[in-house]
């Protein structure tokens, strides 16, 4: 009944781009001025930097306007094609992992920096990297794209690989409904020519196998049964108020029944279990994880620098797509790595194709967390973990992955467009796991909404500070030595990092501060 806004937008975008590189147009039109695009783009980029324009996508807009075929033409040169990563949660971490694994195994990888997960951002990133003659020095591109922009993108460039992670309620004020979001990702699967890699445990994603073209391979990544309770599907979210608990308890414990949401929302086993997964996450330990790779009898264990069970599941996703690229590279490799000219494309591709599972897992062990995805910053001897939260499922997964005991907790909720304007989503998160420790500080534009939410879950809030910067400073410097968790929305994360950068060194995450 509710009108599908996203689809309208997408169709409008589609029409705008019907004249550019469509699916079956192998050679995009090259306007007479195309030779100048890299130069103009770079000049605009430099100018906008000098003028502190700030918007990293601005040069991309100029390039898109003067040369709409730039994206398709530039990415079309890549010998191993394009890997497109999309889904609601984990895009940034997973994209970073895929790029890092491939680079580790010897490929030259182009990827879009954090936060520019829309087409124009990709164009801007390309402008930075191409030579003046329009060449991109890379073997493969790994691109993170927001669901709506992914559709826009595949109308210009058909990806060889698509890695589709999950569909969850995320800023419904922006995307409309999750079934629409699944449809958007369906368009991506339809436009993918090599391999589509799907999350077996998300029914809406697994179902996209049916829209994948016949000539395209489908692979899955999955979870062992005993890890599934960490990943309730979006449908399991519907009953945050522990209805079953209340019913079981009858009227015996009415006061607790309402708020005692189950600590581990048990997800019903999906019928998709029978699908074979190429990579399965089988176990999560303290900074280690085990993956079962298709064709092997035992899982392999590796140490990891990533935190949080959902990041490790993203690693399974990354492994699956890297293996898909490897399979094609093996088929295409003409000469073994040893005989190819050192440093040549053939040598790189052969070495990549020949990398075994040990090498893959070694590469996994070296991946570091992305900006705000469990990134740790030290202030006054306290390790502060920054945890980006942007939708109920992500928030729940983070709360489940980072036990609060022994830590102080701060939550910062802003309501700009990038954060989600509607606060309803906070009511879909179960905060009862914070009841024991309480929350030391709540801040952000919607600090009071957050404090109210916690109070209804009977989680004690020590302080609500509406001035974000001073609240961050106070929280970060109090109780030196005590490790801390800061959960924050996107714009809150940017401001938190900027504030922490005044207190200690904070790495440049490539998104500005």
């Amino acid at each position: 009944m509710a009108q599908d806004q996203t689809q309208d937008q997408t169709e409008a975008q589609q029409q705008n781009h019907d004249d550019s590189a469509a699916a079956n147009t192998p050679a995009p039109k090259r306007p007479w001025n195309a030779f100048a695009t890299p130069l103009v783009g770079k000049a605009v980029r430099e100018a906008s930097r000098l003028l502190h324009h700030g918007g990293s996508a601005f040069p991309g807009k100029i390039a898109e306007d003067i040369d709409p075929g730039f994206l398709a033409r530039t990415l079309g040169q890549l010998p191993l094609g394009v890997v497109l990563v999309s889904g609601t949660n984990g895009k940034t971490t997973t994209t970073r992992m895929v790029a890092s694994l491939m680079a580790d195994l010897g490929l030259k990888v182009f990827t879009n920096p954090t936060g520019s997960n829309f087409t124009r951002g990709v164009v801007s990133a390309l402008l930075e990297q191409v030579t003046l003659s329009g060449k991109l020095d890379a073997d493969i591109a790994v691109l993170e794209l927001d669901e709506a922009y992914a559709v826009h993108f595949v109308h210009q460039v058909r990806p060889r690989y698509a890695l589709l992670l999950n569909v969850m309620r995320d800023q419904l004020d922006r995307f409309g409904e999750i079934d629409n979001t699944a449809r958007l990702l369906g368009h991506v699967a339809e436009a993918t020519d090599g391999t589509v890699v799907l999350n077996r445990e998300d029914p809406r994603i697994a179902a996209l196998a049916s829209v994948t073209p016949a000539h395209t391979k489908v692979q899955y990544f999955g979870l062992a049964d005993d890890l599934k309770h960490f990943f309730p599907s979006d449908d399991d979210m519907a009953t945050t108020v522990a209805v079953e608990a209340a019913e079981d308890a009858g009227s015996a414990e009415p006061a607790t029944a309402a708020t005692q949401s189950s600590a581990s929302p048990a997800s019903a086993p999906q019928s998709t279990d029978t699908l074979p997964a190429d990579v399965t996450l089988t176990r999560v330990g303290d900074h280690e994880a085990s993956f079962l790779i298709s064709g092997e009898s035992q899982p392999r264990t590796t140490t990891v620098r990533l935190e949080g069970v959902y990041n490790l599941y993203n690693a399974a996703a990354a492994l699956a797509v890297v293996r898909a690229v490897q399979a094609d590279a093996r088929a295409a490799a003409v000469a073994p790595a040893a005989t190819a000219r050192t440093g040549s494309l053939a040598a790189r591709v052969s070495a990549f194709a020949e990398a075994d599972a040990d090498a893959l897992l070694d590469a996994v062990s070296r991946v570091t967390p992305a900006f705000g995805r469990g990134e740790t910053i030290e202030v006054n001897g306290s390790e502060i973990q920054l945890l980006l939260v942007k939708n109920p499922m992500g928030f729940r997964l983070s709360l489940g992955s980072f036990p609060p005991a022994g830590h102080e907790t701060m939550i910062i909720i802003n309501d700009e467009y990038a954060d989600g304007r509607d606060m309803s989503w906070l009511w879909d998160v179960d905060f009862t796991s914070l009841r024991e420790t309480g929350v030391a500080m709540v801040s952000g534009t919607r600090a009071w909404d957050m404090a109210l939410r916690l109070e209804y879950d009977r989680v004690t809030v020590e302080q609500t500070g509406t001035d974000l910067e001073s609240a961050v400073k106070q929280f970060a410097t109090a109780n030196p030595g005590v490790p801390k968790h800061i959960y924050c929305t996107y714009t809150a994360m940017l401001r938190t990092r900027a504030e922490l950068a005044k207190l200690t060194h904070v790495a440049d995450a490539g998104v500005g501060r």
Binding site: E177, T259, D422, E455
Partner: protein, 249 residues
């Protein structure tokens, strides 16, 4: 002995999209803080109808969710209409607000019938009405929330709005400055955010109607701790309301 109050969450599996469970949580918790014994019934399609229902809370859903529940909703329509006529308080947000009306006509002309508890009908439009919203009500004061819908809802004569909005392009249809609908003790509205946490006056009104229906009078029996806790919740809600009302659309 404990005074039980039976709260029904209507179709929580399929009609619960914008934190609608927040409304359930607030009713349950406030009932308990007033000294009653709330009992929650999650009613999904095909379930048995509980013996007793004092309050019904329903939310929004996706197209697929609406398709899944529609047959069951019609099977229960007489029951729901009788309860509504008998004064059972109900709160229906967004999708169920539309389905509690007369019909919904989509942009391409397809007509979906509602169960006609509320004298309201909805016509699909391309433009979505979306953003922070404050509406004014004589009974509840300012109602603070967030709307997100594309259907334009129009009220029949005899159906009162929940409140009035200040600006064109907001509320039921963007034209007549009404928002929501009220018939008997049934409230339909597009406001989420969630609605009840920041609008405790509405939560308490639903609770009061339910308790009076069941026990003849509303006489909270609160411990001082419960009173204190309620005051703390309401103080937080007041701060959150001030901020929300001042945020841009």
């Amino acid at each position: 002995m404990e005074n039980i109050v039976d709260v029904m969450s209507l179709y929580p599996k399929d009609m619960n999209i914008y934190g609608d469970s927040g409304n359930v949580l607030v009713v349950m918790r406030r009932l308990a803080l007033y000294g009653y014994a709330p009992r929650l019934h999650a009613y999904n399609q095909g379930d048995d109808w509980p013996e007793h229902v004092d309050i019904i809370l329903g939310g929004g859903g996706q197209d697929t969710g609406q398709k899944k529940i529609i047959d069951d909703l019609f099977a229960r329509a007489n029951q729901l209409r009788d309860l509504a006529a008998g004064g059972t308080p109900m709160l229906m947000i967004c999708g169920l607000f539309q389905l509690f009306g007369e019909y919904f006509e989509t942009v391409d002309g397809a007509r979906l019938d509602g169960i006609r508890v509320l004298g309201a009908y909805t016509v699909g439009q391309e433009k979505r009405m979306i953003g922070n919203l404050v509406e004014h009500s004589d009974d509840f004061g300012d109602i603070i929330g967030y709307e997100n819908h594309s259907g334009q809802t129009f009220l029949r004569e005899g159906t009162a709005p929940l409140g009035h909005v200040d600006h064109d392009g907001t509320g039921n249809n963007g034209e007549d400055h009404t928002e929501g609908a009220r018939v008997n003790n049934v409230i339909g509205t597009y406001m989420h955010g969630s609605l009840l946490p920041k609008n405790p006056a509405i939560a308490d009104w639903l609770i009061r109607q339910a308790v009076i229906n069941r026990y003849g009078e509303f006489e909270p029996d609160q411990t001082s701790e419960q009173m204190f806790e309620m005051a703390r919740l309401d103080a937080l809600a007041e701060e959150a309301r001030k901020v929300a009302a001042a945020r841009p659309r």
